[in-house]
Amino acid sequence: MKLVVEVSPHKKARYDTAWIMKQVVVALSPAIIASVIFFRMRAVFLILVCILGAVLSERLWTYLRKRPSTLGDYSAVVTGLLLALVLPPKLPLWVGFLGGVVSIILGKQIFGGLGQNIFNPALVGRAFLMAAFPVMLTSWVEPFSLDAVSRATPLALWKFSGEFTPLRDLFLGRISGSLGETSSLALILGGGYLLLRKIADWRAPLGMFLGAFFLSGVFYLINPSNGSIAFHLFSGGMLLGIFFMVTDPVTTPTTKLGRFLFGLFVGLLVIILRKYSGLPEGVMYSILIMNGFSPLINKLTIPKSFGR
C-alpha cells in the first residue's frame, strides 16, 4: 500500500488560477462581441495579434530561461485580451503585436512573472505604445464605418470642444473609442458576472465607482460643463477600469480595506486627470500610479487579527 502523506487540508477548492483567468475571458466576452459588432474584422484581428504577441513572448521567455511553460495559467491570454480592448480599432496590427510583447516582457516577466509584477501588464503595454506611437494611439474611428471615418472620442469632444455625446449612445457603445470600452452595457454585463460569481472582489470596483461618482458629482454641481456623473462613468475606460483593471489581483492591494481604498483613489484620480490634465482620459495613468502605491496601502491597512 503506497500512501500519500502530506499536510492538511486534504480537500481543496476545485477552481484554480487558470479557471479564474478563463472566467475573466468569459466576463469580457460581451465587450468582445460588442467590439466585433462595432468595428468588425478590425476588432477580431487586433484582439488576435495582441493575444498572440503576449502568448508567444511569454512562451519564448520561459523557453529561454529554461522554465516550464506558464501558458496553462491563461494569464497571458487575459493580458493580451485586455490590452486589445484598450487600443484604438484602427491601430496597425504589428503595433498591437508589439504591445502584447511589451505587456508580457516589461509588464510582467522582468519582475519575475505572474504574481510578481507591480504594474498592470496590459496598461504597461498601452503606456509604452502611447509613448512610442502617440498619433496612432489617439486616432479614432467611428463605429460601423468600414472605410474608417475618423471621429474623436466622447471625452475628447467634451474636453476640446465642449460637446456632449448623448448618454444613450454612450451606454450602448455607438461611439468612437478603444475597442472594448465603447459599450457600457457590455461591460456592465460582464463585470456583473465577474462580481456576482465572486471571481473578482467587489471592494475595489465599489471604491472606484464611489470615487468617480463623488468627484464628478462635485465638479458637476460647480459647473455642469464639467460633465455629468453618468457621462464620466459611461465614457472612456471608466467601466473597463472598474470591472477589469482594479480587480487585477496581482497589482492591487490584498487587504480588504486596501482594495477599497485603492479603487477609491483611482476613481478620484481619474476625474482629476480628466479635468486638469492635458489629456481627455485618465484611467490608465490613474491605475498605473496607484499600482505603485499598492505595497504601501497594504502595509497601512493590515487588519487586526481576531482577538487583538
Partner: protein, 437 residues
C-alpha cells in the same frame, strides 16, 4: 468562514456498531499535557477499565486498559499524531474482550448528592479529555481559575465526512443532556448553549423535544442552530458566534466567561459519573471512497486500523491512496494501517486515487482569498512569503501564533499553495529558535 462539500452521506444515517478488538496499542499520550506514569508491568494481567498509567503532573490524564488481557509490552509504538509514542500493548488472549466489568453504577438520586469535588475526581479518574480533538484534560477545564457564566456544548461537527458527534446526539440525546447537567452544575453557569449546525436538524429536534420535558436540572438552555460553515466549531469562532465575545489572543475561553465542551465529552462525563466507566471507547467515523461502506463504530481505545480490516469490519473496495486521522480539513495523513484509535480520534478517512488533489503549487496571484476566508483575520499569504524568504522573526509581527491551522486558506487558494504547510514550518522554526535562545 466557508462552505465545504459536506460528504456526510450516507454514514450520517448509519447506526453505530460495536467493535471489540483482540489486541490494542494504547499510547501514553492521548491528551494535552504531561505523560502519565505506567503502573503496570509487562506480563501483568489487566481487566477492562484497569488503570495502566497515572498522572503525576497537574495537566495530565489517566490511561486505562480498554480490554481484558495481558500486557505483552510497554514500548514505542505507532501514534497517529506523534508518529511514535511509548504504548501499552495488550492482548486479549482466550478471554473474551467483550466481557465488560461492572464499574458500579449509582442511583440517580445519589448523583444529585455528589459534591463538585467528588464529581471532578470521578471525571479525572475516568481519564476524560476533550474529545473534539484538542484532548485537553476535562477536569482541568472544569475548574477554571475565573468564574464563568456560559457553557457551550459543541455539536457543530463542521469537518466534512465526520458523523460521530451527530450519531451520538441522535442515539444518546438523553445521556448527553445528563452530562451537560453535571457540567453546568460544576461550573455554576447561568446559560447553556447547545450549538449544532443546520445540516444536523434531526439532532436539534431531539434535543429540543427532550428539553421540552423540563426534567433536567439545567440553567437557561438554548439549542442554537448555526449555519453549516467551516470552521464553525472552532472554539474562538463558536464563542463569538454565540455570545459576541472575543477571546483575546493568547487567552482561553474562561477569560471571557465561557467553557466549551464537545458533545462527546459530555457523554463521557455522563458515563463516568453515572456508571463509573472510564474512557475506554468512543465513536469513530470511518469513511472515504476506498471503503465498501462507511461506518460509525463504537471502538475501544487502542484498536488498530489493521485489526478492523483483518476482522472485516471495514473492507476496501479500492486501494487507499491516503489515510487521514481526523477530518479532511485538519486531519493528519498517515503511512500505514498500524496506527491505533486514540481518545481524540473522531474519524479515519480512506481516500482513493480519485479524491487526491495532485495539482502542484503555482505562483501566488495575491488574490486575497486566503485572508478573506481566514477566521482569525490573519494574512496567510504573508506567512508564505516570509517563510520562503526565511524572515522568521517577522512572522510574529503578523501574529502567526494566532493561526489555528484550520486549513481554510489552503482550501481556497487558486494557486494550490500548501499554506498550512508553510505556516507549520514557520511556527516550528520559531519554536526551535526560542528554545535555543
Amino acid at each position: 468562514m466557508l462552505r465545504v462539500e459536506e460528504a456526510k452521506k450516507p454514514q450520517e444515517s448509519f447506526y453505530t456498531q460495536k467493535f471489540s478488538p483482540q489486541k490494542v496499542v494504547i499510547p501514553l499520550s492521548q491528551h494535552t499535557g504531561a505523560l502519565p506514569i505506567p503502573i503496570v508491568k509487562k506480563k501483568d494481567r489487566v481487566k477492562v477499565g484497569e488503570v495502566l498509567a497515572q498522572p503525576q503532573a497537574l495537566i495530565s490524564s489517566t490511561i486505562h486498559s480498554s480490554i481484558a488481557g495481558e500486557v505483552i509490552g510497554i514500548k514505542e509504538g505507532p501514534h497517529p499524531l506523534l508518529k511514535r509514542c511509548k504504548s501499552f500493548i495488550i492482548e486479549a488472549g482466550k478471554e473474551s474482550p467483550d466481557r465488560f466489568e461492572d464499574f458500579g453504577s449509582i442511583p440517580e438520586e445519589g448523583i444529585k448528592e455528589l459534591g463538585s469535588s467528588e464529581i471532578l475526581s470521578l471525571i479525572k479518574e475516568a481519564g476524560i479529555v476533550g474529545l473534539g480533538g484538542a484532548g485537553f484534560p476535562t477536569h482541568i477545564k472544569l475548574t477554571p481559575p475565573k468564574k464563568v457564566d456560559t457553557l457551550i456544548v459543541n455539536g457543530c461537527e463542521c469537518e466534512p465526512y465526520l458523523t460521530c458527534d451527530f450519531r451520538l446526539m441522535i442515539e444518546h440525546t438523553e445521556a448527553i443532556l445528563k452530562g451537560i447537567e453535571i457540567v453546568a452544575r460544576i461550573l455554576e453557569v447561568r446559560k447553556v448553549y447547545i450549538a449544532i449546525e443546520e445540516n444536523k436538524l434531526e439532532a436539534v429536534k431531539r434535543f429540543n423535544s427532550k428539553l421540552h420535558t423540563k426534567k433536567y436540572l439545567l440553567p437557561q438552555t438554548e439549542v442554537k442552530v448555526l449555519e453549516s460553515l467551516y470552521p464553525q466549531g472552532a472554539e474562538k469562532q463558536l464563542i463569538y458566534s454565540l455570545t459576541k465575545r472575543k477571546v483575546p489572543s493568547g487567552k482561553l475561553p474562561f477569560d471571557v466567561g465561557c467553557v466549551v465542551q464537545n458533545v462527546g465529552t459530555c457523554f463521557a462525563i455522563y458515563e463516568a459519573v453515572y456508571f463509573r466507566k472510564p474512557l475506554i471507547e468512543r465513536i469513530v467515523t470511518f469513511a472515504g471512497s476506498s471503503l465498501v461502506e462507511p461506518k460509525n463504530l463504537l471502538v475501544r481505545i487502542g484498536t488498530t486500523l489493521k485489526e478492523l480490516f483483518e476482522k472485516e469490519v471495514l473492507k476496501f473496495k479500492r486501494e487507499p491512496k491516503k489515510i487521514i486521522f481526523g477530518g479532511p480539513m485538519m486531519g493528519v495523513a498517515l503511512d500505514s494501517l498500524d496506527y491505533p484509535i486514540i481518545k481524540t480520534t473522531s474519524g479515519v478517512l480512506f481516500l482513493s486515487e480519485e479524491d487526491l488533489d495532485l495539482r502542484e503549487e503555482s505562483s501566488c496571484i495575491k488574490c486575497g482569498r486566503c485572508l478573506d476566508n481566514c477566521p482569525m483575520r490573519l494574512l496567510p499569504l504573508e506567512f508564505v512569503r516570509l517563510v520562503k524568504k526565511e524572515l522568521w522573526q517577522k512572522l510574529e509581527e503578523f501574529c502567526i501564533s494566532d493561526c489555528i491551522e484550520c486549513g481554510s486558506c489552503s482550501f481556497v487558494c487558486p494557486a494550490k499553495i500548501p499554506i498550512v504547510n508553510y505556516i507549520k514550518a514557520g511556527k516550528e522554526k520559531l519554536r526551535t529558535s526560542k528554545s535555543k535562545a
